[in-house]
Subunit: 325 residues, 2 copies
């Protein structure tokens, strides 16, 4: 699938559609609820409720069977209100509602609640609308440690990236971690891990070094083209999406990447690419396709909800359903 | 662009469509989130939740990337519930929930919260659904002072106009302030600033005097025709909108004016018109176009949400997207 660029280097562009097709499971009447994926989003606080909703509903619309949200008590009724399709757990707390002397017991309770569920999840998304409250982030660090113990893949975005950039050990050396930084989040990661500035002249090499530096986590660097690396190879997805940059598109990506990663892990045999890399490539091409449709319909007024509405038709275009009866 | 009226005076009608086109940025895949505008609405209290939603969602549908709302704790979950696209900060308080001895510390906290964000905003809208609670208005006065310190443009409507009419120093001499009074709000402004009654025989001159009297703030006088002045010139936008006068249309206007003002400020060179005047003209023509479409479809039942639904197609008619790839 590789071709030569004008400078003689191999193109990193991948056949993203083929990869998406190869990991998307067939729909069979014999399957039962949960087999197409159980996803959880950890995010949603007093300030942010849209982001976790976008992520969780996108996981469902990509094809997951169940989508959970673990958020603060304030955020829960609002997120529930966006959609009856989501299972929303109001278990997180922010500093303003917690006395110092209660922190330890509340943290223990949060972990106990999450642990009831953790083992069943096929992928956990950390960060959409998480905010930056110190106590909340402390709880989420602990949730991440437990996810890791249970070998659950994690997709980390938004304030989750703020958290791991400051606590790299949370994901360092964990091959089931996926980081999805935008331009600013990528900059902070490069500064922290490589202790230098972003160098776009040698962007591929720097991305490889960054992924290696984090010990094999997969990085999806979002931008005009998306670049994906786990420290071994770099793949590019460049098909045109939309020129609108309204907030929330990254949440759709985290939701669909989570589903595709969990599907890719179920592939039989020894795939030539890691499940996390394949999941990123599939999520990237799906978002781009849906965004292009949404933009065609809504032009300058396109919002994130418009893209979500196009996930279904886009998936069907990329990978038509063949129902085996 | 000027022609003579029957009485020999020059027409003030502007080519609003050309102005809208000249300030609307191209959509380029190389841009990233936030570059098309980050807008904030300060408004929303126990009584009013629709107005700040209309304003904030209209900013997004005009093409902003991010839209925030700063409102009271009561109003926040409701406004969040209208749309997951908005970032809603439940930070304001009304007198009924605050003890006298706590007012000072609560005011300080409100300002601290807003200041975390203020510098990032390209325009702040003051007033949609603000209400008239004295303590709340005191907090908002302080927010306005900080916006001014950071040189952030302000669009002031509704109860924000009640506030500034009683405290003219909040905007006096601030060329980045835009006031969008309706007939009653205009009357109160004229009485307060010029200490006389509205005189429609000499409406243009009076509008000029009013804008000068406030020290160069831009006034968009809403009516059958909209008249716009910053004390130097008066421009008119008279294209037909809708004969329905349902509440909320002014909120759409404030949202889109905020976006257009922030775009106009990014124009290179030395435009012949001020950014605030161009922003008002563009917002006025967009609302009129969308209202005319909404009225065509919904007739006597036309509501504000119907107009919002037509913002996208109206923008596309006025200024078709040319995507540069």
């Amino acid at each position: 699938m590789q071709s030569l660029l004008s400078d003689g280097s191999p193109s990193m562009e991948v056949d993203a559609v083929s990869i998406l097709k190869s990991i998307t499971p067939s729909l069979e009447p014999s399957k039962h609820k949960g087999q197409a994926g159980k996803i959880a989003v950890v995010g949603g606080c007093r300030e942010y409720t849209g982001a976790p909703y976008f992520s969780a509903i996108s996981a469902l619309k990509t094809g997951a069977d169940l989508s959970h949200v673990f958020c603060t008590k304030d955020a829960a009724p609002v997120i529930k209100g966006y959609s009856p399709e989501l299972i929303v757990h109001p278990i997180l707390e922010e500093s303003y509602s917690v006395r110092d002397e209660d922190k330890k017991s509340i943290l223990a309770k949060v972990i106990e609640e999450v642990d009831k569920w953790m083992e069943r999840f096929d992928c956990v998304i950390i960060g959409p609308g998480l905010g930056r409250d110190p106590f909340l982030l402390d709880c989420v660090s602990n949730i991440m440690k437990h996810a890791r113990q249970f070998n659950v893949p994690m997709v980390i975005d938004g304030d989750g990236l703020f958290l791991v950039t400051n606590s790299l050990d949370l994901i360092s050396g964990y091959p089931l971690a996926v980081l999805t930084p935008n331009v600013n989040e990528y900059k902070r990661l490069v500064q922290k891990v490589l202790q230098c500035e972003v160098n776009d002249q040698d962007g591929t090499q720097q991305l490889l070094s960054l992924a290696k530096g984090i010990g094999g986590a997969t990085i999806l660097r979002k931008g005009g083209s998306d670049f994906i690396s786990n420290g071994e190879t770099v793949h590019e997805v460049s098909s045109f999406g939309s020129p609108r940059r309204c907030g929330g598109q990254g949440d759709i990506l985290s939701g669909s990447v989570a589903v595709f990663v969990s599907w890719a892990r179920q592939l039989a045999g020894e795939p030539s690419m890691s499940a996390t890399v394949m999941g990123c490539i599939a999520g990237s091409i799906l978002l781009r396709k849906a965004a292009s449709h949404a933009f065609e319909s809504n032009r300058r007024s396109m919002l994130t909800t418009d893209i979500i509405q196009h996930l279904g038709t886009s998936l069907e275009e990329l990978c038509p359903v063949l129902v085996s009866r």
